[in-house]
Point group: C2
Chain length 156, copies 2
Amino acid sequence: MKITFLQVGKTHFDFVESGVAVFEKRLKHYCRFDAPFILLPSKLKSLPADELKEAESAMILKKINPQDIVILLDEKGSRFTSVAFANFLQKQFLHHSHLVFIVGGAFGFHKSIYERANHQLSLSDMTFSHQLIRLVFMEQLYRAFTIIKGEPYHNE
Amino acid sequence: MKITFLQVGKTHFDFVESGVAVFEKRLKHYCRFDAPFILLPSKLKSLPADELKEAESAMILKKINPQDIVILLDEKGSRFTSVAFANFLQKQFLHHSHLVFIVGGAFGFHKSIYERANHQLSLSDMTFSHQLIRLVFMEQLYRAFTIIKGEPYHNE
């Protein structure tokens, strides 16, 4: 049971990085987990937005295996309650061993990523920055495992 | 134009505190803003949950003036998109000069707070911890002002 959380672009805020680390440490009690970054070489950063997304897309797709289940964090995705999200996770792991969640960069996803994706998930009606979403998602993932295991949520 | 963000109970995570501080600094460009804590004296902390909420409630109500508009962050509240929330804020400030947002503690709000509240706001279908919600709310408040002013969202 493995979860990969692919993050497009680096984390700008120290508090997001620290928060993600807090939940990453906790998640490792429940599953194999990693959270790699997709970082474009600086020489490509001046590309027009669409070419930039295409270059990112190629890097993302290289990290994904054919049998992986790919879930995009995307405003247009389905919305879940925390309990429904826990059920979704549990159901996925009945049939699949590796889930790859992806949070996009400032410009969103290239169409090839939408084509590869198995699911799209939205965390709120509200728009969160692609930075804060990392933290919010990590908390929900941790919360989902506490729900699955019937454990009290660890809040301190 | 003043916004008060009342936080019941202290912030346990350093990353939440740092993140709130980032957005607090930015918010001060747009309005008068403060974010005081409601902290029960330690001798009261062993009270049963309901008495504890009542004691908190008395402390909260002391901070609120009759003409203030009180908005609870509560799972059962209305959900807004970020743009709808910006519109809501703008509309409130047409008629009122002081909005008080309140995030509850681990046990939620006492009924007297629900009775005093003018509005209830929910940030997501998902349940966030009463800790992370502080950060998510602060980002939405900052985002709302950038929407109202037609400014680009400052992400770095």
